[in-house]
Amino acid sequence: MTTDTQAPETQAPARAGRPSIGSLLRSVLEDRVALLIILLVVMLAWFFALSSGGYLVAPYDLSYLASALESMVPLAILGLAQLLVIVSGRGGIDLSVGAMVSLVGMLFGFAYGMWEWPFLPALLLALAAGVVLGAVNGLLVAYLRVPALIATLATYYAYSSLALISNDNAPISTRPLQDLNSITRAVDLGGVAIPRQVFTFLLPVAVLIWLLVNRAPYGRRLYAVGTNEVAARYASLDVAWVRFGAYTLSGLLSAVVAVVTAAQFASARPDAGTVGNGMALPAITIAVLGGVAIAGGVGRVGGVLIAALLIVWLNAGILLYFEGAQGSQYQLFALGAVLLVSALFNALVLRRRGGT
């Protein structure tokens, strides 16, 4: 094109002074966190209504919700891991988180459950292993420029098979691990039993990630790289290093989930993160529902956390509504439907905002 095609653009039209229902609605729709909170409240109200109407197998009350938080912890943390890699851009995604959970879980099981290491060293070993596994992904995606989908697919294969081989496909359920279950026992808060790991694992991780993303220089760089990789380069950011960091952090977070899961189930299982469809899929669903844009550069910690709550409590409600195995099956339906609707919605919002 001739060089004068960069025509000076006009400013965006100023909004009308008086706030109307329409503009209020629009701003809610565009603020993902607000929207999710509303959906959450609506859903809870719906299930509470069903419960009091006697339609559910068991009461959908605060205690039930609190106990459901047990499955929220690993999913929320993995959702945050997906937030980091997807925000980093260039088709970022991490399909290997479940496999990393399995593999690190087994390693932790060996260290803590078989070689009788004290808890802290075993934990540190697990975290270090997570860093290494995530770094492999980071090396492939950030430095070797392998598309993330393929790189993490390959490591998914590799890590999950290593996890299975490590103990001949058998879980480690020795005494120390069974005792470890105590760190996931419930804490009584005003009559409601909340799983301990919400406070010992989820909250600290969520706070740290929030600080990293919103307050630390790294977070800025991450979003810059995901928004416009070329401009980030011109702004003297080390694009490869920033991306590498995102995948490494994803490995670290997977390691945290590995330890929590081992404690929760009182054993280190070789398919902890890969059983069924694996943990990667719900984690990605939570991220997308939470407003993380597949193109990169957009996503909020708050959105991911509320999305996790939404999914987990929705699943919990479904279990009570349907009998027997039907419940877990309908959870699949819910997961798929929620992902689809939220993705379609994301696409709509992005188009209206003027993105491609």
Partner: protein, 330 residues
Amino acid sequence: MSAIATTARPRRVTARAIEGQELVLLGVLAVLWLVLSFSVDTFFTASTLQNLMVAVAPVAIVGVGMTAIIVTGGIDVSVGSAVAVAMVIVGKLVRDSGLELLPAIAVAVAVGAVLGLLNGVLVAYGRVHPIIVTFATLNLYRWLAFQIFGGEEVNNIPGTLAALGGGGEGRSLGIPNAFLLAVVLAALMWAYMRYSPTGRHLYAIGNDAHAARLQGVRVTRRLVSVYLITGVLVGLAAVVLIGGGGRIGQSVGTGLELQVIAAVVIGGTSILGGRGTVLGTVLGALLVGTVSAAVTLLGWPSELTALFIGVFILVAVGVDLLRQRRRQAL
């Protein structure tokens, strides 16, 4: 007007039947088979090879469609769930309503087509990234399969579909029909993507969908069609998997998509779109199948298969990236 010589660079004739990557793959496969036939007595026997071909067939069949999808820059991870839906429907009909072979195939294809069409419409019109769409339908279709299973696996399926199964009736001249079917389908897709205008458009879409649209390529139509075709192929794969009869477990098809994608990527198709052939996919599927068979025959833990597949994927992608970079330096 006299022709003006432009450059003295050596010419490369486009669209050769076999590109570089496939030759390498063929070589690797040959070497692998050679090594195996020496280390394991039972490898180069008729039954092992036949089993291999039967196992590879469904992956190759779906892989034919997946190649086209990936060439356009998309992906479909719902094929495993879709195959389960098709299998449970056809299995039950064959068992309970005595459906014959040809109608069974028709039903399977129809079911697969509907599931594929949904994917295609969502990707093409919803403007949602294919990974997200098919992640969602992976779940939805699995739920659907469970509903149709009704809580129990499907047993006692008669051998109506044995012509495409793994047993004696399913062979022609010693080669499993299922594998022959895969080869025929691959040949058809190869011809389509090489000689048909709309087939060539797939590559254009993978290169630059926006520019393609501007130049008269019916992008939406093509996108819907590749997912639809893959759905049809899923139906055929379902028939092959039911094969000699027996039982269909509720978790059937889980993980199929990963095997298929592995076969396509190892076969040289670029995940970034715009490049790839079905020949590579078939070879990739054979490679994946061979690795799996080898691991079993050598008495290694079966989990190692996944490890090797992961390594092969990385090697294939690495080689592909190297070739890209070298070409850009021209």
